[in-house]
Amino acid sequence: MITARYHREIPQRYRLEAGKCKKCGFIAFPLRLVCPKCKTKDFETLRLSDEGKILTFTIVRVASDKFSKQTPFAVGIVELKDGVKLTTQIADVDVDKLEIGQKVKIVFRKIQEDGKAGILCYGYKAVLV
């Protein structure tokens, strides 16, 4: 991953920063320039809740080359308490015991390595609570 591309994403990935539309309250994660609901261009920064629940998930057993050494790993769509949904790995779990509806907490983890000499890329994963 290009370093600049990774650095741009740090507020979202490290601090779960989203944009809240000042007019209609829509929460955009990641940040956007235009509100998809009311087309307003005025957002304030909001730090998302780190608590949520699993809406759906899968266990990736065949991955792209970059993630092939991690298989099997769980990826789910998690709905946070403020209603925002995100796609995240679900870590530290027996993948065969996952269920829809389980409560999770968002934690800070290493996500991927960009080659041998590349940057280490961090971000969020979910763990069961």
């Binding site: 998809p36 759906t56 899968t58 065949v62 990826v75 796609t87």
Partner: protein
């Protein structure tokens, strides 16, 4: 807008075409379509291709394919909407003829997926790179999450998913161009290698090389050439959030609902007026969800319908994926949307051989990009 007619079609065999390049594949399909139509020139060319840059390192496909087809200086443009690229290319050709700007346009699609790229990574570029793919999700993974949610919400079963593959392979076994033109049993599907729970290998469309092309023309041209009038009576497209997680529902594809509403309105028909439908069954769950979102079955009943045979060729209800679908025929991503049109063209001309739907008069093709961020629908009718 003028009437637009499909007057010719051609495709390559779908499969692992190791001895053919992307140019060979496109030219072979296009020459067949041109010959089938009987036209002596083209006014322009549109080519659907999802990711020739990453698959084979070749962009600027429009010009290079026009060159190898011997058609310089005809204008030629590549159209991209992920796996809906073929459908989108057909739509551009349709619009160009309908507007009166051109008389005869070639709409093609091509993909060369077997030349060594990491196919899983390339296909994943149709999802959100930073907020989906970054986490390691794959395309089977995204559809697996839809499947899991659908099973949880509506009680869709593993057997119902398998029934899609069984039906489509049965249809594909009657299609000489199919990559996997053999039958499979439900047991084989349910015992195949797990790819991304709950989707197994035989729930997934294969990695395919292939090309497909059709010639679209004005009614005047079609009548002069004394063609059967297979008319395009609807062309509609819609988009949705690229990220699956941003949608209100994980079990309804809003782009399909919206493009279908527009298409039915434009054609002046209802879902049950269709005699057959080619849908984007990149994974078995996709066919079930799309068959509901197109209005063939009540939401949540799509799995039950396929298991009960309501979508088979013989059913008389709504035959789905008579060609074998992406599942059995193969899924060269950019060519798929055009290959769907070709199946309608053959069915409506009564030339589908042993998989012919009796008295087929109106057919629909639904082509999808990503996890449903794009949907392109065309409805064709023969007079």
């Amino acid at each position: 807008m003028r009437d637009v007619v499909v007057i010719g079609a051609g495709m390559t065999k779908f499969g692992e075409l190791w001895d053919k390049s992307i140019k060979d594949i496109f030219v072979e399909a296009s020459l067949k379509a041109i010959e089938d139509s009987g036209v002596d020139h083209l006014d322009s060319i549109y080519v659907g291709a999802m990711s020739s840059g990453l698959f084979v390192g070749q962009e600027h496909l429009g010009a290079i394919l026009a060159d190898y087809l011997g058609m310089n200086p005809v204008p030629a443009t590549r159209v991209e909407s992920a796996c809906a690229s073929g459908g989108a290319a057909f739509r551009q050709a349709y619009l160009e003829v309908a507007s009166g700007a051109s008389e005869i346009v070639l709409a093609g699609g091509v993909e060369k997926m077997n030349d060594g790229a990491d196919v899983t990574e390339v296909l994943a570029t149709a999802a959100d790179q930073e907020y989906e793919v970054y986490q390691g999700i794959t395309f089977p993974g995204l559809y697996a999450m839809i499947a899991k949610a659908h099973m949880h919400q509506y009680g869709t079963t593993r057997e119902q998913l398998a029934a899609v593959a069984v039906k489509n392979h049965r249809n594909g076994s009657k299609n000489k161009n199919a990559q996997f033109g053999f039958e499979v049993t439900a047991e084989q599907v349910m015992k195949s290698t797990m790819v991304s729970d709950p989707l197994r290998l035989l729930d997934c469309s294969p990695v395919t090389d292939g090309g497909a092309a059709v010639i679209v023309a004005s009614m005047d041209v079609a009548k002069k050439l004394n063609k059967n009038l297979v008319r395009v009576i609807a062309s509609a497209q819609a988009s949705d959030t690229i990220a699956l997680h941003s949608r209100e529902s994980l079990t309804t594809l809003n782009s399909v609902v919206k493009s279908a509403e527009k298409a039915y309105r434009m054609a002046g028909i209802k879902p049950m007026d269709l005699n057959l439908c080619e849908v984007h069954d990149c994974f078995t769950i996709a066919e079930i969800v799309v068959s509901e979102d197109l209005g063939f079955f009540e939401k949540g009943k799509g799995g039950e319908a396929v298991l009960n045979g309501l979508t088979s060729i013989e059913s008389g209800k709504i035959p789905i994926n008579t060609s074998g679908g992406l599942k059995s025929k193969g899924h060269p991503v950019g060519a798929t949307g055009i290959a769907q049109i070709i199946e309608l063209y053959e069915q409506l001309n009564g030339k589908a051989g042993s998989r012919q739907v009796k008295n087929a008069r109106i057919g629909m093709a639904q082509n999808m990009g990503g996890s449903g961020a794009s949907s392109v629908i065309h409805i064709l009718e023969v007079k």
